[in-house]
């Protein structure tokens, strides 16, 4: 490289034609600003595919997006109460707590360190009036079961009655969590005379705007 500098000083080391412009032409102007964010396009893009298949997959995509927000896999951090503790906290609906998981995975397929308490969320059923009749039914069921137990204890032999007792207890336990799940939270929780919105202290108003969720889906 150094060797060719001494000879033929007017000669360039590359052919000038290859550059694309002649000797006297001005160089193309250099850029002073960064290139624009949305540069004008020289060619318009081709329109999207259309058709029944395309429309169906579009609808599927939007449906999946909407439904995935309602599944228990959509995890939200529990809102931390920054205020003082309030009386109404006792009656606030059980929102998602950090230390509970809302679905029950097969723990045998997960590492043991991930094990966390399972608690299915209580569902609020809007406008489901028939739920009201559940509580008296359950209460009646409990009483009936208790009566049955007493009579059974008296009449049957001990072994036999113990078996029946266990069955009844199991049914009670099964019904209780079931009943809890179906409880209409708006009424009847913790046996107060007030509907749950009475205990709404207005903290939630406007708080949702801080969340990043896009609620409306098309």
């Amino acid at each position: 490289m150094a060797g060719s500098r001494g000879r033929g000083r007017s000669q360039f080391s590359f052919s000038v034609d290859a550059l694309g412009f002649g000797r006297g032409d001005s160089l193309p102007s250099s850029a002073h600003t960064p290139s624009p964010l949305y540069p004008p396009m020289q060619f318009r893009p081709v329109p999207l595919h259309t058709g029944e298949e395309v429309d169906y997959m579009l609808a599927l995509k939007q449906e999946l997006r909407a439904s995935s927000k309602n599944l228990p896999f959509h995890i939200q951090a529990a809102r931390t109460k920054t205020d003082v503790a309030r009386y109404s906290d006792k009656y606030q609906n059980g929102e998602t707590k950090n230390n509970c998981i809302e679905w029950s995975p097969d723990w045998s397929r997960m590492p043991k360190e991930l094990c966390i308490k399972v608690r299915k969320p209580r569902k609020t059923v809007i406008g489901a009036k028939p739920q009201l009749t559940r509580k008296p039914k359950v209460a009646a069921g409990k009483e009936e079961a208790l009566q049955k137990l007493e009579t059974l204890e008296k009449r049957e032999e001990e072994q036999h009655s113990e078996e029946e007792e266990d069955e009844e207890k199991k049914k009670q336990n099964e019904e209780e969590p079931d009943a809890d799940e179906d409880y209409d939270e708006e009424e009847l929780e913790d046996e107060t005379d007030y509907i749950m919105s009475y205990f709404d202290n207005g903290e939630d108003f406007g708080a949702d705007s801080e969340d990043n969720m896009d609620e409306a889906v098309y």
């Binding site: 052919s15 999207l48 999946l64 951090a77 950090n98 991930l114």
Partner: protein, 556 residues
């Protein structure tokens, strides 16, 4: 111990994700599982491999939230876990499978394919399993039967046996597969309370297990339950709930099923080849290729470069009579396919009337090349595309040769070449004549290399999808107030209609949305539909390019 460390480092090096891929993973995780899982997942992708405590510490999230997020990710097969660097005695380490996260983009296509092959039942089965990650056969059958019953007219219901038969078909054709058991299941974990997981760092391949496609015997009879809001429905609900919790009765406890993405991808690949043949030649040739591919479905392994050789006699026998192709016509079509420059079909022998194969890898390469050429044409014009195609075919050309072969005047050719060069679609290669690399004595050759260009375009696609998602989120956020108002009004209308309100009341509520607001909503809907549709379409390109890139790696 040392081997483990070195192995992990090498593994990390080869599995590093690009910035665009990480960004897209984050957006997809956020869309499906929320911000918490997104934060955990993105950090885990960037770090490669981490244990639980390190992950919680570095993301500064409460430990419980990290646990929940990992549970979700493991459930959906997007996160694998195993013994870490310190061996079985040390903490469990977690790794994100980015490819699996990208599959979320393709869920609509998987579901639609299941629908086209196995009807509504197949569609719902695949949809349920995709949304829940993994499910047992019995719970899938019950859930799908309930959903189908819900859409049926009053009084009818879907029998479980019908759903079971469609499920079996999906398993037989390998679209569904069993989730691989944990490696620790094989070793004896007898009675010890704190048995550490002696699993390998690599996730076990589902197909390595002999029972991968074996259907369990389940004791399941009945029909789908209709969800009713009347009091009568409560008895049904309680019964249905009891039935759902009594999984062990059905006999398939612990046997989970997942979607076999690879099988769907093979199906998509076949579809792409068939439609390409149909576009390039004609309908009959594409039917012949479809028949050949169908015949080789079971005999061809997943990464094979070409199908098993099929004789013309066999193909003729397998052709559906509806195609109405006579034997001599078939021979003509086959020779036409072999001679076509796209090289979809190749002839490997003369016995049996001629032995033919479908060149799978070459077909993928040609499809990828067609995609690249199309991109250049649409972005830079047909003359630039001509230069690009020239360089793809001739490999290395000097500037003068490009001008001559492409028949484009020198000044414009230079301009186009430099533009392509600046976009990295064309590379410049120096061939020195002398050892001192003097510019006057060096050849400067323009070249296009298909594989690196495909990789570049793939990264562009990932960036595009990321941009589309972000734009959609922005549009939704900008119009949040209006959307919420519209939702509230719809809810009011629905409840009014349910309680039987008069038409006057309904119109009064409808008018709460003003006309300009309605127009704004309509335009927003139109934009979001367009953005969503674009995502689906870009994903088709992603699939083609990724299949091509994977095929080149498999053959090495």
């Amino acid at each position: 111990m040392l081997f483990h460390q070195v192995f992990n480092l090498l593994f990390l090096f080869f599995l590093q994700m690009t910035a665009q891929e990480v960004r897209l993973c984050g957006l997809l995780l956020q869309e499906h599982f929320g911000n918490v899982v997104e934060k955990v997942g993105t950090h885990l992708i960037r770090s490669g491999v981490l244990n639980l405590r390190a992950l919680a510490h570095e993301t500064k999230l409460p430990l419980d939230l990290v646990k929940k997020s990992l549970c979700v990710l493991v459930q959906h097969g997007m996160c694998t876990f195993g013994a870490g660097r310190r061996g079985p005695a040390g903490p469990v380490e977690y790794r994100i499978n980015c490819e699996h996260v990208f599959h979320m983009l393709r869920y609509p296509r998987y579901i639609y394919t299941a629908k086209s092959l196995y009807g509504d039942t197949g569609e719902l089965i695949v949809e349920e399993i995709l949304q829940r990650g993994q499910m047992t056969m019995s719970s899938t059958v019950k859930t799908v039967a309930d959903r189908l019953t819900h859409n049926m007219p009053e009084g009818q219901s879907m029998d479980y046996s019908e759903v079971v038969s469609v499920f079996s078909q999906l398993v037989e054709t390998h679209f569904l597969q069993r989730c691989p058991p944990l490696a620790s299941a094989g070793s004896s974990s007898s009675g010890a309370v704190d048995t550490p997981l002696p699993v390998a760092t690599q996730p076990t391949e589902p197909e390595n297990h002999p029972d991968c496609y074996k259907l369990p015997y389940i004791n399941l009879t009945g029909q789908g339950k209709r969800r009713r809001s009347s009091e009568d429905g409560e008895a049904d609900q309680r019964a249905a709930k009891k039935a759902r919790t009594d999984n062990s009765e059905c006999g398939d406890d612990g046997i989970y099923w997942q979607v076999n993405f690879q099988r769907f991808h093979l199906h998509f690949r076949d579809q792409a080849i068939i439609s390409a043949v149909s576009c390039k030649l004609d309908q009959s040739s594409s039917e012949i290729v479809r028949t050949m591919l169908r015949m080789s479905e079971v005999t061809t392994p997943a990464h094979a470069a070409f199908t098993q050789a099929l004789s013309a006699n066999e193909i003729f026998r397998a052709l559906l009579s509806s195609y109405n192709i006579a034997r001599p016509i078939l021979d003509q079509y086959l020779s036409l396919l072999v001679d076509d420059p796209m090289e979809f079909v190749g002839k490997t022998g003369d016995s049996g009337g001629g032995m033919y194969v479908v060149n799978l890898h070459r077909a993928l390469a040609n499809l990828a090349r067609a995609t690249l050429e199309s991109v250049v044409q649409e972005r830079f014009g047909s003359r630039s595309a001509r230069i690009f195609r020239l360089l793809l075919r001739k490999r290395h050309l000097e500037q003068k040769q490009v001008e001559d072969f492409a028949m484009i005047p020198a000044k414009e050719a230079k301009d186009m070449l430099y533009k392509l060069l600046s976009e990295n679609l064309v590379q410049l290669q120096e061939i020195p004549k002398t050892p001192d690399y003097a510019p006057s004595r060096t050849f400067y050759l323009y070249t296009v290399n298909q594989l690196p260009t495909a990789r570049l375009l793939l990264q562009n696609c990932y960036k595009t999808v990321g941009n589309l998602i972000e734009r959609r989120l922005y549009e939704t956020k900008e119009n949040k107030r209006l959307l919420e108002k519209s939702q509230r009004i719809e809810a009011i209308l629905a409840s009014l209609q349910a309680t039987g309100a008069e038409a006057a009341q309904l119109t009064e509520v409808e008018e709460m949305i003003t006309v300009p607001e309605r127009q704004q909503l309509e335009s927003l809907r139109h934009h979001i539909n367009k953005l969503d549709s674009s995502e689906n379409q870009v994903d088709e390109t992603i699939f083609l390019l990724k299949s091509y890139i994977n095929s080149t790696q498999a053959s090495h």
